[in-house]
Subunit: 190 residues, 2 copies
DNA sequence: AAATCAACTTGACATAAATCAAGAAATAAA
DNA sequence: TTTATTTCTTGATTTATGTCAAGTTGATTT
Protein backbone atom coordinates (compact mmCIF):
# COMPACT_ATOMS: atom_id res chain seq x y z
CA UNK A 1 0.00 0.00 0.00
CA UNK A 2 1.07 3.49 -0.80
CA UNK A 3 0.33 6.25 1.69
CA UNK A 4 -1.09 9.56 0.52
CA UNK A 5 1.87 11.34 2.09
CA UNK A 6 4.38 9.28 0.13
CA UNK A 7 2.54 9.80 -3.14
CA UNK A 8 2.39 13.54 -2.47
CA UNK A 9 6.04 13.59 -1.63
CA UNK A 10 7.27 12.03 -4.86
CA UNK A 11 4.64 13.30 -7.26
CA UNK A 12 5.82 16.81 -6.39
CA UNK A 13 8.98 15.93 -8.32
CA UNK A 14 7.25 14.37 -11.31
CA UNK A 15 3.61 13.35 -11.83
CA UNK A 16 2.92 9.65 -11.29
CA UNK A 17 0.92 7.74 -13.86
CA UNK A 18 -1.73 5.35 -12.56
CA UNK A 19 0.35 2.43 -13.84
CA UNK A 20 3.31 3.61 -11.82
CA UNK A 21 1.19 4.11 -8.70
CA UNK A 22 -0.17 0.60 -9.11
CA UNK A 23 3.29 -0.84 -9.53
CA UNK A 24 4.58 1.00 -6.48
CA UNK A 25 1.58 -0.18 -4.47
CA UNK A 26 2.37 -3.73 -5.42
CA UNK A 27 6.01 -3.69 -4.39
CA UNK A 28 6.00 -1.48 -1.30
CA UNK A 29 4.93 -2.61 2.13
CA UNK A 30 3.88 -0.66 5.13
CA UNK A 31 5.36 -1.99 8.34
CA UNK A 32 5.27 -1.03 12.02
CA UNK A 33 8.22 -1.54 14.33
CA UNK A 34 8.70 -0.75 18.00
CA UNK A 35 11.36 1.60 19.29
CA UNK A 36 14.90 0.18 19.33
CA UNK A 37 14.26 -2.07 16.34
CA UNK A 38 17.38 -2.55 14.27
CA UNK A 39 16.72 -2.01 10.55
CA UNK A 40 20.29 -2.67 9.43
CA UNK A 41 23.32 -4.19 11.11
CA UNK A 42 26.82 -3.45 9.90
CA UNK A 43 28.27 -6.19 7.73
CA UNK A 44 24.91 -6.84 6.12
CA UNK A 45 23.77 -5.48 2.79
CA UNK A 46 21.14 -2.77 2.91
CA UNK A 47 18.57 -4.20 0.52
CA UNK A 48 15.68 -1.87 1.27
CA UNK A 49 14.94 1.79 1.36
CA UNK A 50 12.39 2.95 3.94
CA UNK A 51 10.16 5.97 3.95
CA UNK A 52 9.31 7.19 7.46
CA UNK A 53 5.55 7.71 7.71
CA UNK A 54 5.81 8.19 11.45
CA UNK A 55 8.76 7.90 13.78
CA UNK A 56 12.44 8.56 13.98
CA UNK A 57 15.61 6.69 13.05
CA UNK A 58 19.32 7.06 13.46
CA UNK A 59 22.35 5.61 11.74
CA UNK A 60 25.58 4.97 13.61
CA UNK A 61 29.02 3.53 13.12
CA UNK A 62 31.17 1.88 15.75
CA UNK A 63 34.44 3.62 16.54
CA UNK A 64 36.51 1.59 18.95
CA UNK A 65 33.40 0.19 20.58
CA UNK A 66 31.76 3.61 20.74
CA UNK A 67 28.70 4.48 18.72
CA UNK A 68 29.01 7.51 16.46
CA UNK A 69 25.71 8.79 15.08
CA UNK A 70 25.98 9.69 11.40
CA UNK A 71 22.47 10.91 10.81
CA UNK A 72 19.02 11.34 12.30
CA UNK A 73 15.92 11.19 10.13
CA UNK A 74 12.26 11.68 10.82
CA UNK A 75 8.83 11.79 9.16
CA UNK A 76 8.76 12.08 5.35
CA UNK A 77 12.36 11.13 4.90
CA UNK A 78 13.82 8.19 3.03
CA UNK A 79 16.38 6.20 4.94
CA UNK A 80 19.01 3.68 3.87
CA UNK A 81 22.75 3.23 4.02
CA UNK A 82 24.11 5.11 1.01
CA UNK A 83 27.23 3.05 0.44
CA UNK A 84 25.59 -0.26 1.07
CA UNK A 85 22.37 0.32 -0.83
CA UNK A 86 23.76 1.87 -3.99
CA UNK A 87 26.70 -0.51 -4.22
CA UNK A 88 24.86 -3.51 -2.74
CA UNK A 89 27.84 -4.25 -0.55
CA UNK A 90 28.19 -4.83 3.21
CA UNK A 91 27.31 -1.81 5.29
CA UNK A 92 29.58 -0.23 7.82
CA UNK A 93 26.72 1.59 9.38
CA UNK A 94 23.81 0.45 11.55
CA UNK A 95 20.29 1.83 11.42
CA UNK A 96 17.90 1.70 14.34
CA UNK A 97 14.60 3.22 15.34
CA UNK A 98 14.49 5.64 18.25
CA UNK A 99 10.69 5.64 18.43
CA UNK A 100 7.84 3.30 17.58
CA UNK A 101 7.58 3.85 13.84
CA UNK A 102 5.51 3.25 10.76
CA UNK A 103 7.60 2.77 7.63
CA UNK A 104 7.02 1.99 3.98
CA UNK A 105 9.68 -0.28 2.53
CA UNK A 106 10.84 -0.88 -1.03
CA UNK A 107 13.39 -3.53 -1.97
CA UNK A 108 16.50 -2.80 -4.00
CA UNK A 109 15.63 -5.17 -6.85
CA UNK A 110 12.05 -3.96 -7.03
CA UNK A 111 13.34 -0.41 -7.28
CA UNK A 112 15.72 -1.36 -10.07
CA UNK A 113 12.94 -2.99 -12.03
CA UNK A 114 10.82 0.13 -11.67
CA UNK A 115 13.71 2.20 -12.97
CA UNK A 116 13.81 -0.16 -15.94
CA UNK A 117 10.08 -0.25 -16.65
CA UNK A 118 9.25 3.37 -15.91
CA UNK A 119 11.92 5.61 -17.35
CA UNK A 120 10.34 8.67 -15.74
CA UNK A 121 10.94 7.18 -12.31
CA UNK A 122 14.61 7.89 -12.95
CA UNK A 123 13.76 11.59 -12.77
CA UNK A 124 12.35 11.05 -9.30
CA UNK A 125 15.30 8.90 -8.28
CA UNK A 126 17.77 11.42 -9.62
CA UNK A 127 16.18 14.41 -7.93
CA UNK A 128 15.84 12.60 -4.59
CA UNK A 129 19.46 11.48 -4.79
CA UNK A 130 20.55 15.04 -5.55
CA UNK A 131 18.54 16.24 -2.55
CA UNK A 132 19.96 13.77 -0.06
CA UNK A 133 23.44 14.26 -1.44
CA UNK A 134 23.05 17.99 -0.81
CA UNK A 135 21.89 17.35 2.75
CA UNK A 136 24.84 15.10 3.33
CA UNK A 137 27.26 17.70 1.99
CA UNK A 138 25.78 20.29 4.31
CA UNK A 139 26.35 18.02 7.29
CA UNK A 140 29.93 17.46 6.22
CA UNK A 141 30.46 21.17 5.71
CA UNK A 142 29.20 21.80 9.21
CA UNK A 143 31.52 19.17 10.68
CA UNK A 144 34.54 20.48 8.86
CA UNK A 145 34.09 24.18 9.23
CA UNK A 146 32.08 25.02 12.23
CA UNK A 147 33.22 24.97 15.83
CA UNK A 148 31.39 22.71 18.27
CA UNK A 149 29.45 25.71 19.52
CA UNK A 150 28.41 26.76 16.00
CA UNK A 151 27.31 23.28 15.13
CA UNK A 152 25.18 23.06 18.26
CA UNK A 153 23.59 26.40 17.58
CA UNK A 154 22.90 25.58 13.92
CA UNK A 155 21.13 22.39 14.85
CA UNK A 156 19.20 24.11 17.60
CA UNK A 157 18.01 26.63 15.05
CA UNK A 158 17.35 24.24 12.15
CA UNK A 159 15.83 21.31 13.99
CA UNK A 160 14.91 22.33 17.54
CA UNK A 161 12.32 19.55 17.82
CA UNK A 162 15.05 16.93 17.59
CA UNK A 163 16.29 17.77 21.07
CA UNK A 164 13.05 16.54 22.57
CA UNK A 165 12.97 13.33 20.58
CA UNK A 166 16.56 12.12 20.61
CA UNK A 167 18.75 11.29 23.65
CA UNK A 168 21.39 13.98 23.90
CA UNK A 169 24.28 11.54 23.78
CA UNK A 170 23.26 10.63 20.22
CA UNK A 171 23.08 14.28 19.25
CA UNK A 172 26.52 14.82 20.74
CA UNK A 173 28.16 12.20 18.53
CA UNK A 174 26.10 13.38 15.56
CA UNK A 175 27.67 16.79 16.10
CA UNK A 176 31.07 15.16 16.36
CA UNK A 177 31.79 15.60 20.04
CA UNK A 178 31.68 13.62 23.27
CA UNK A 179 28.58 13.61 25.45
CA UNK A 180 30.54 15.44 28.16
CA UNK A 181 31.64 18.25 25.87
CA UNK A 182 28.10 18.57 24.61
CA UNK A 183 26.71 18.76 28.10
CA UNK A 184 29.16 21.50 29.08
CA UNK A 185 28.34 23.39 25.89
CA UNK A 186 24.64 23.34 26.65
CA UNK A 187 25.19 24.58 30.19
CA UNK A 188 27.26 27.44 28.84
CA UNK A 189 25.09 28.54 25.91
CA UNK A 190 21.79 28.32 27.75
CA UNK B 1 32.67 18.51 -29.10
CA UNK B 2 32.41 15.32 -27.18
CA UNK B 3 35.58 13.40 -26.36
CA UNK B 4 35.76 9.67 -26.87
CA UNK B 5 36.68 9.25 -23.20
CA UNK B 6 33.58 11.11 -22.04
CA UNK B 7 31.32 9.13 -24.35
CA UNK B 8 32.85 5.89 -23.11
CA UNK B 9 32.47 6.99 -19.55
CA UNK B 10 28.75 7.69 -19.69
CA UNK B 11 27.70 5.10 -22.25
CA UNK B 12 28.95 2.46 -19.83
CA UNK B 13 25.98 3.41 -17.67
CA UNK B 14 23.41 3.43 -20.47
CA UNK B 15 23.86 3.33 -24.25
CA UNK B 16 23.69 6.72 -25.97
CA UNK B 17 21.52 7.17 -29.03
CA UNK B 18 22.99 9.15 -31.94
CA UNK B 19 20.47 11.90 -31.27
CA UNK B 20 21.65 12.18 -27.69
CA UNK B 21 25.30 12.22 -28.74
CA UNK B 22 24.53 14.99 -31.22
CA UNK B 23 22.70 17.00 -28.62
CA UNK B 24 25.51 16.60 -26.11
CA UNK B 25 28.03 17.62 -28.77
CA UNK B 26 26.06 20.77 -29.42
CA UNK B 27 25.84 21.92 -25.85
CA UNK B 28 29.20 20.89 -24.40
CA UNK B 29 32.42 22.79 -24.96
CA UNK B 30 35.98 21.71 -24.57
CA UNK B 31 38.12 24.31 -22.87
CA UNK B 32 41.75 24.59 -21.79
CA UNK B 33 42.80 26.49 -18.69
CA UNK B 34 46.18 27.08 -17.12
CA UNK B 35 47.10 26.00 -13.63
CA UNK B 36 45.63 28.16 -10.85
CA UNK B 37 42.56 29.11 -12.87
CA UNK B 38 39.55 29.63 -10.65
CA UNK B 39 36.48 27.80 -11.95
CA UNK B 40 34.16 28.88 -9.17
CA UNK B 41 34.37 31.55 -6.49
CA UNK B 42 32.31 31.35 -3.32
CA UNK B 43 29.23 33.52 -3.41
CA UNK B 44 28.66 32.76 -7.07
CA UNK B 45 26.30 30.16 -8.45
CA UNK B 46 27.89 27.07 -9.96
CA UNK B 47 26.20 27.01 -13.34
CA UNK B 48 28.37 24.40 -15.07
CA UNK B 49 29.55 20.89 -14.53
CA UNK B 50 33.00 20.07 -15.88
CA UNK B 51 34.44 16.75 -16.94
CA UNK B 52 38.22 16.57 -16.49
CA UNK B 53 39.78 15.27 -19.70
CA UNK B 54 43.22 16.08 -18.43
CA UNK B 55 44.35 17.82 -15.27
CA UNK B 56 43.50 18.17 -11.63
CA UNK B 57 41.21 20.35 -9.55
CA UNK B 58 40.47 21.04 -5.93
CA UNK B 59 37.59 22.56 -4.03
CA UNK B 60 38.12 24.50 -0.85
CA UNK B 61 36.24 26.49 1.73
CA UNK B 62 37.56 29.37 3.78
CA UNK B 63 37.64 28.84 7.53
CA UNK B 64 38.70 31.97 9.31
CA UNK B 65 40.84 33.02 6.39
CA UNK B 66 42.37 29.56 6.06
CA UNK B 67 41.69 27.37 3.06
CA UNK B 68 40.24 23.95 3.79
CA UNK B 69 40.33 21.53 0.87
CA UNK B 70 37.10 19.58 0.56
CA UNK B 71 37.96 17.40 -2.41
CA UNK B 72 40.55 16.68 -5.09
CA UNK B 73 39.51 15.37 -8.49
CA UNK B 74 41.44 14.26 -11.53
CA UNK B 75 41.01 12.79 -15.03
CA UNK B 76 37.63 11.29 -15.89
CA UNK B 77 35.84 12.88 -13.02
CA UNK B 78 32.96 15.31 -13.07
CA UNK B 79 33.40 18.37 -10.90
CA UNK B 80 30.99 20.98 -9.58
CA UNK B 81 29.84 22.34 -6.25
CA UNK B 82 27.10 19.98 -5.10
CA UNK B 83 25.08 22.45 -3.06
CA UNK B 84 25.39 25.27 -5.49
CA UNK B 85 24.82 23.36 -8.72
CA UNK B 86 21.85 21.24 -7.67
CA UNK B 87 20.14 24.06 -5.81
CA UNK B 88 21.39 26.85 -8.12
CA UNK B 89 22.24 28.94 -5.10
CA UNK B 90 25.44 30.77 -4.09
CA UNK B 91 28.34 28.46 -3.44
CA UNK B 92 30.31 28.41 -0.24
CA UNK B 93 33.09 26.52 -1.90
CA UNK B 94 35.72 27.59 -4.42
CA UNK B 95 37.07 25.41 -7.23
CA UNK B 96 40.47 25.91 -8.77
CA UNK B 97 42.81 24.02 -11.07
CA UNK B 98 46.08 22.72 -9.70
CA UNK B 99 47.47 21.84 -13.14
CA UNK B 100 47.05 23.03 -16.71
CA UNK B 101 43.84 21.26 -17.64
CA UNK B 102 41.52 20.32 -20.48
CA UNK B 103 37.89 20.27 -19.45
CA UNK B 104 34.54 19.68 -21.10
CA UNK B 105 31.82 21.91 -19.74
CA UNK B 106 28.06 21.59 -19.69
CA UNK B 107 25.74 24.33 -18.45
CA UNK B 108 23.05 23.75 -15.84
CA UNK B 109 20.16 24.80 -18.07
CA UNK B 110 21.43 22.77 -21.01
CA UNK B 111 21.65 19.74 -18.72
CA UNK B 112 18.09 20.29 -17.51
CA UNK B 113 16.81 20.49 -21.05
CA UNK B 114 18.55 17.23 -21.90
CA UNK B 115 16.93 15.62 -18.87
CA UNK B 116 13.62 16.86 -20.26
CA UNK B 117 14.13 15.80 -23.87
CA UNK B 118 15.95 12.52 -23.31
CA UNK B 119 14.30 10.65 -20.45
CA UNK B 120 17.02 8.00 -20.54
CA UNK B 121 19.61 10.60 -19.66
CA UNK B 122 18.02 10.64 -16.21
CA UNK B 123 19.33 7.09 -15.76
CA UNK B 124 22.83 8.37 -16.39
CA UNK B 125 22.31 11.38 -14.16
CA UNK B 126 20.89 9.23 -11.39
CA UNK B 127 23.67 6.66 -11.49
CA UNK B 128 26.40 9.30 -11.58
CA UNK B 129 24.79 11.13 -8.69
CA UNK B 130 24.61 7.89 -6.71
CA UNK B 131 28.27 7.28 -7.46
CA UNK B 132 29.52 10.70 -6.37
CA UNK B 133 27.25 10.65 -3.35
CA UNK B 134 28.84 7.35 -2.34
CA UNK B 135 32.33 8.81 -2.78
CA UNK B 136 31.37 11.78 -0.66
CA UNK B 137 30.00 9.53 2.08
CA UNK B 138 33.21 7.57 2.12
CA UNK B 139 35.22 10.73 2.59
CA UNK B 140 32.96 11.76 5.45
CA UNK B 141 33.19 8.34 7.03
CA UNK B 142 36.96 8.59 6.90
CA UNK B 143 36.93 12.02 8.53
CA UNK B 144 34.60 10.94 11.29
CA UNK B 145 35.97 7.58 12.17
CA UNK B 146 39.57 7.32 11.34
CA UNK B 147 42.47 8.81 13.21
CA UNK B 148 44.75 11.22 11.36
CA UNK B 149 47.22 8.39 10.85
CA UNK B 150 44.58 6.05 9.43
CA UNK B 151 43.33 8.71 7.06
CA UNK B 152 46.82 9.39 5.79
CA UNK B 153 47.49 5.70 5.25
CA UNK B 154 44.16 5.13 3.51
CA UNK B 155 44.83 7.91 1.06
CA UNK B 156 48.38 6.73 0.51
CA UNK B 157 46.99 3.33 -0.35
CA UNK B 158 43.99 4.42 -2.41
CA UNK B 159 45.46 7.33 -4.35
CA UNK B 160 49.26 7.31 -4.04
CA UNK B 161 49.68 9.33 -7.25
CA UNK B 162 47.98 12.30 -5.65
CA UNK B 163 50.99 12.93 -3.43
CA UNK B 164 53.09 13.76 -6.46
CA UNK B 165 50.54 16.04 -8.04
CA UNK B 166 49.14 18.02 -5.14
CA UNK B 167 51.01 20.29 -2.69
CA UNK B 168 51.03 18.58 0.66
CA UNK B 169 49.42 21.48 2.47
CA UNK B 170 46.28 20.91 0.44
CA UNK B 171 46.32 17.23 1.22
CA UNK B 172 46.73 18.07 4.90
CA UNK B 173 43.54 20.11 5.03
CA UNK B 174 41.74 17.59 2.83
CA UNK B 175 42.57 15.03 5.51
CA UNK B 176 41.31 17.43 8.16
CA UNK B 177 44.57 18.37 9.83
CA UNK B 178 47.06 21.22 9.83
CA UNK B 179 50.06 21.18 7.50
CA UNK B 180 52.34 20.84 10.52
CA UNK B 181 50.56 17.83 11.92
CA UNK B 182 50.61 16.26 8.49
CA UNK B 183 54.32 16.91 8.12
CA UNK B 184 55.08 15.29 11.49
CA UNK B 185 52.87 12.34 10.61
CA UNK B 186 54.75 11.73 7.39
CA UNK B 187 58.11 11.89 9.13
CA UNK B 188 56.85 9.34 11.63
CA UNK B 189 55.16 6.85 9.32
CA UNK B 190 57.89 6.86 6.69
C1' DA C 1 72.57 32.17 -11.91
C1' DA C 2 70.54 35.06 -8.58
C1' DA C 3 66.73 36.46 -6.49
C1' DT C 4 62.19 35.79 -5.09
C1' DC C 5 58.49 33.18 -3.59
C1' DA C 6 56.09 29.08 -2.09
C1' DA C 7 56.31 24.68 0.24
C1' DC C 8 57.80 21.97 3.83
C1' DT C 9 59.92 20.83 8.37
C1' DT C 10 60.88 21.22 13.18
C1' DG C 11 60.51 23.09 17.87
C1' DA C 12 58.09 25.36 21.77
C1' DC C 13 53.88 26.31 23.58
C1' DA C 14 48.77 26.80 24.08
C1' DT C 15 44.32 24.87 24.03
C1' DA C 16 40.15 22.49 22.94
C1' DA C 17 38.27 18.49 23.68
C1' DA C 18 38.68 13.46 25.11
C1' DT C 19 38.92 10.44 28.87
C1' DC C 20 38.19 8.84 33.47
C1' DA C 21 35.35 8.92 37.36
C1' DA C 22 31.59 9.77 40.36
C1' DG C 23 27.23 11.44 41.39
C1' DA C 24 22.53 13.49 40.16
C1' DA C 25 18.49 13.40 37.53
C1' DA C 26 15.25 11.38 34.70
C1' DT C 27 12.97 7.51 32.70
C1' DA C 28 11.41 2.82 32.56
C1' DA C 29 10.34 -1.41 34.86
C1' DA C 30 8.76 -4.16 38.73
C1' DT D 1 5.54 3.73 44.44
C1' DT D 2 9.79 1.71 44.77
C1' DT D 3 13.56 -0.03 42.36
C1' DA D 4 16.52 -0.38 38.57
C1' DT D 5 18.45 1.41 34.52
C1' DT D 6 19.71 4.84 31.53
C1' DT D 7 20.87 9.53 30.66
C1' DC D 8 22.98 13.62 31.89
C1' DT D 9 26.12 16.64 34.51
C1' DT D 10 30.29 18.19 36.70
C1' DG D 11 35.19 17.95 38.09
C1' DA D 12 40.09 16.53 37.49
C1' DT D 13 43.42 15.12 34.34
C1' DT D 14 45.52 13.81 29.96
C1' DT D 15 46.34 14.09 25.20
C1' DA D 16 46.21 15.12 20.48
C1' DT D 17 46.43 18.65 17.58
C1' DG D 18 46.51 23.57 16.52
C1' DT D 19 49.12 27.85 16.57
C1' DC D 20 53.12 30.65 16.35
C1' DA D 21 57.70 31.15 14.85
C1' DA D 22 61.93 30.35 12.59
C1' DG D 23 64.63 28.03 9.40
C1' DT D 24 65.36 24.99 5.25
C1' DT D 25 64.51 23.28 1.04
C1' DG D 26 62.72 23.51 -3.43
C1' DA D 27 60.65 25.77 -7.37
C1' DT D 28 59.75 29.78 -10.34
C1' DT D 29 60.82 34.02 -12.30
C1' DT D 30 63.74 37.61 -14.04
Amino acid sequence: MLSEVLIQSISKIHPLSQALIDRLSNVTRQVSFPKKTTLLTQGNICDKVYFIEKGLARAFYLKEGQEVTSWLMQENDFIFSVNSFYGQKPSYENIELLEDSILTSLGYHELQSIYRDFLEFNIIGRVLTEYYYTLSEERTFSLRLQTTKDRYESLLKMQPEIFNRVPLKYIASYLGMSAETFSRLRAKVK
